[in-house]
């Protein structure tokens, strides 16, 4: 019998936030992403350097140490194109530390859209372009091929699985959401409905969220979470089952949970504790799939994400501002791509990053849960206005520089 394994998968991402881009700059200044104010919360460089200091550098150092210390330790990472571009510009040492991790052969890179977009729901051709662009970037930077796919925000449905299957991926990631699983456990490999070869890995959200969301919450009855306690929980969860999929944002380590919460020490200690039992191991996402045959078929006709209590796309596409903004953006696709203007196409794609729509979310007005929705803007309405002006400016450039399209969209 094979060992019981944890599949640790971390998502690495930073968007290009839109600066305070006003009506008066529309059609005049085509820079949307570089905030001249070094102290602004929309200054991408400032934020990137801060998160690098708090999260990327210390966490990569910890991962390197764990890989060096424990031959059984493994991790999978998805790293977005917008993250890589910013790291290349401002913190090349962070890129290098990721390259060193991949060189160990025990760190797998997971495929996704280059721009962390929701293109799957708007344009299949644009979606595939971004998957290809990401594959190429990973090839160039790390010299590896990707074979397991995750969609932005883990937004998943049967159609996506069928696409990934026919595209040649051997695995795909999704949320292990109770209403879908019913009596079944997320701790098995499954086969998506209507597919031939692809396997589905489901996030164990209880154990994942213990770290990602609850770790530092002093109001939580289980606080403080110790390595002993967490080992107990993981061991109980995996009894007579093959694997535990721990999926979360990479920035959980050091940014969402700050160093002074003890998250780094906790994690290092837990890895050692887990591996001290010889029947335990870690899997990369590919190994988890290679080692385990699908235990059954899972169907998700409607889209499931890893966000909110609803696990749907409402945080991104729930209100009319979000729907309108993305509608205008994707309506430009053909005109923009025809120009072959790489700068214009790049700006259009950077505006596809899902974070922009998230900043326009008004759900927290009804939830009253302001802190659950981080945004660099003073309100979702400001985010919407700046974004709309940027879209208008794209139209202006099309019209002015390429003689295509009209200003009214």
């Amino acid at each position: 019998m094979s060992q019981r394994g944890i599949t640790l998968y971390l998502h690495v991402h930073q968007p290009y936030r839109v600066r305070d881009y006003s009506v008066f700059e529309t059609a005049v200044n085509h820079n949307y992403f570089t905030d001249p104010d070094p102290l602004s919360d929309r200054n991408n460089e400032k934020i990137f350097r801060k998160v690098a200091e708090k999260s990327y550098r210390p966490m990569n150092a910890l991962l390197q140490t764990l890989l060096d210390t424990h031959p059984e330790f493994k991790v999978s990472l998805s790293i977005t194109g917008t993250f890589i571009e910013q790291a290349e510009a401002w913190t090349p040492d962070v890129i290098e530390s990721f390259q060193n991790l991949v060189k160990t052969g025990r760190v797998e890179i997971v495929s996704e859209t280059y721009y962390h977009s929701l293109a799957f729901f708007y344009s299949r051709t644009e979606f595939e372009s971004q998957v290809e662009a990401h594959k190429q970037k990973i090839r160039d930077l790390f010299g590896v091929e990707t074979s397991v796919f995750r969609n932005t925000e883990l937004a998943y449905n049967d159609e996506l699985a069928q696409w990934a299957d026919s595209y040649g991926f051997k695995g795909i990631l999704a949320e292990g959401w109770d209403p879908v699983l019913d009596w079944r456990s997320p701790n098995f490999v499954y086969r998506p409905e209507g597919t031939e070869n692809i396997s589905l890995l489901l996030k164990n959200y209880r154990l994942s969220d213990d770290l990602a969301f609850r770790f530092s919450n002093k109001a939580w009855t289980e606080w403080p979470l110790t390595a002993d306690k967490y080992t107990e929980w993981t061991t109980a969860s995996i009894a007579d089952q093959p694997l535990i999929n721990l999926f979360m944002d990479y920035e959980t380590f050091g940014e969402h949970q700050w160093a002074d919460t003890g998250i780094f020490d906790f994690f290092g200690e837990f890895v050692g504790r887990w591996l001290s039992d010889p029947s335990n191991t870690f899997y990369t996402v590919s190994e988890a799939i290679d080692t385990n045959k699908p235990a059954g078929t899972i169907s998700m006709p409607s889209t499931v994400t890893w966000a909110d209590a609803e696990r749907d796309l409402t945080a991104w596409l729930g209100n009319s501002m979000q729907q309108e903004a993305l509608h205008y953006l994707y309506a430009l696709e053909n005109d923009i791509l025809r120009t072959n203007d790489l700068e214009l196409i790049g700006d259009w794609r950077k505006l596809q990053t899902s974070d922009h729509a998230y900043y326009m979310c008004t759900k927290w007005f009804t939830d009253g849960d302001v802190h659950a929705y981080f945004s660099p803007y003073s309100s979702p309405y400001d985010a919407f206005l700046y974004y709309m002006n940027a879209i208008r400016d794209l139209r202006w450039r099309l019209h002015d520089q390429h003689r295509t399209g009209g200003l009214r969209g």
Partner: protein
């Protein structure tokens, strides 16, 4: 003269009207002591004496807002605001200052001219101390500011007392006169309607329209779009939700429309959400608060200016817009509509009518052109000298025939 703001430290039309009225009065030989509730230089004003009632900066006074009675100032470190933290505190200081001013003045005042509820208490006190006639000039009532509701009961009570105590009342329009009669129970013969005016020469400061300010809108115009605009505080009084709804309706009939909304206020987010629910965010341009060139260019870029107020005592912005060559559409409950003929009018709730008028102007070049040209002749007839003339007359005759 008791006022609350003067340019450039004004948040709206009240300051502009006071400035031009006082200037025209001084040219007719009136000597004016003008009291404002803040401290700031008024370098451009040499025709009267401006007194500062408190040490507050105009910015802190803006925080209080000419018309926001609910705002609270926060003390900054090292600063003691004392009872100046809210608008009532500022009003108390203002009244005390006026008492002092009267006691130190060598020549007695011939008349006290108080503008709006903000200064009415000081006006009543001054009348008590000097026995000079009190003229209360109503630019806006609490009824208007609350969008036709009850509003702040304290402001309303002060307005009521001020209107009762006044020897004469100046209303800036028949609309306002009607409200003073029906909402405050003041007899009609105590109220005189004196319309505001516009001083075209005040716009002659070498201004030239800059097409680059609203470059995208100019681009739309080049594609045949008609630009509609409103320059206003975004509050419920202004009826902007109806304007957005009407633009959505108009767009169904005629697509080449864009709406420029210049200004800011508590209703902004609601308006953004409404535009999006109607699916016309793409047609609407929110600029935020504008001043100077951006403010004047907002008029200049526009083809149609809409004054959509639920209740607007006068509506100086409409005259400013007309001066910058726009066709006007105003609500029937806006005072400015009483002095202009070459304009369209609608009931503030009638979005179908407004949509019709917008489409009509946008699709007929000759209609648009005649509206723009004809209204120019009409507003040019309105002169601050005439306003000052009527005020002088009022000062002199207010107590004639009165029994002691």
């Amino acid at each position: 003269m008791l006022g609350w703001e003067l340019p450039p430290h004004n948040s709206g039309g009240l300051g502009v009207a006071c400035y031009h009225l006082a200037k025209a009065l001084s040219m007719k030989g009136t000597s004016i002591d003008f009291v404002v509730p803040y401290s700031a230089p008024h370098d451009a004003i040499d025709f009267m004496t401006v007194h500062s009632a408190t040490k507050l900066s105009p910015l802190e006074r803006y925080g209080l807002g000419a018309y926001d009675s609910s705002f609270l100032l926060e003390e900054k470190p090292g600063e003691v605001l004392g009872d100046l933290k809210d608008i009532r505190g500022v009003q108390r200081h203002y009244t005390r200052f006026v008492e002092q001013l009267i006691s130190t003045k060598d020549i007695p005042f011939d008349a006290i001219h108080a503008h709006d509820w903000l200064t009415m208490e000081a006006g009543m006190r001054a009348k008590q101390l000097t026995d000079a006639p009190l003229i209360v000039h109503v630019h806006s009532t609490e009824f208007d500011r609350s969008g036709g509701g009850t509003g702040n009961p304290i402001a309303r009570e002060i307005e009521y007392q001020g209107l009762i105590m006044a020897d004469r009342i100046i209303a800036v329009s028949e609309v306002t006169k009607g409200i003073i009669i029906s909402e405050y129970g003041i007899p009609a013969d105590k109220i005189e309607v004196v319309y505001n005016a516009i001083d075209p020469s005040s716009f002659d400061d070498g201004y030239e329209y800059d097409r680059r300010t609203y470059k995208y809108l100019e681009g739309l115009k080049a594609e045949g779009h008609t630009i509609i605009s409103a320059v206003t505080r975004m509050t419920i009084q202004k009826g902007l939700g109806n304007l957005i709804t009407a633009v959505a309706k108009a767009s169904e009939k005629y697509d080449r429309l864009a709406l420029l909304l210049a200004g800011d206020g508590e209703q902004r987010n609601e308006l953004i959400a409404l535009a999006s629910e109607l699916g016309i965010s793409d047609k609407i341009f929110f600029t935020g608060f504008v001043r100077g060139k951006q403010w004047r260019d907002a008029y200049s870029v526009s083809d149609i200016f809409v004054l959509s107020s639920v209740s607007e005592p006068f509506g100086l912005t409409a005259l400013e817009a007309a001066h910058h060559d726009t066709a006007l559409i105003v609500t029937r409950t806006s005072g400015v509509g009483e002095v202009l003929n070459s304009i369209f009018k609608y009931d503030f709730w009638d979005t179908d009518r407004l949509a019709d008028q917008i489409v009509g102007i946008a699709t007929s070049e000759s209609l648009q052109k005649s509206l723009k040209q004809n209204v120019m002749h009409e507003y040019a007839r309105l002169s601050w000298h005439d306003v000052a003339e009527r005020c002088m007359n009022l000062y002199q005759t207010v107590r004639q025939g009165a029994l002691v």
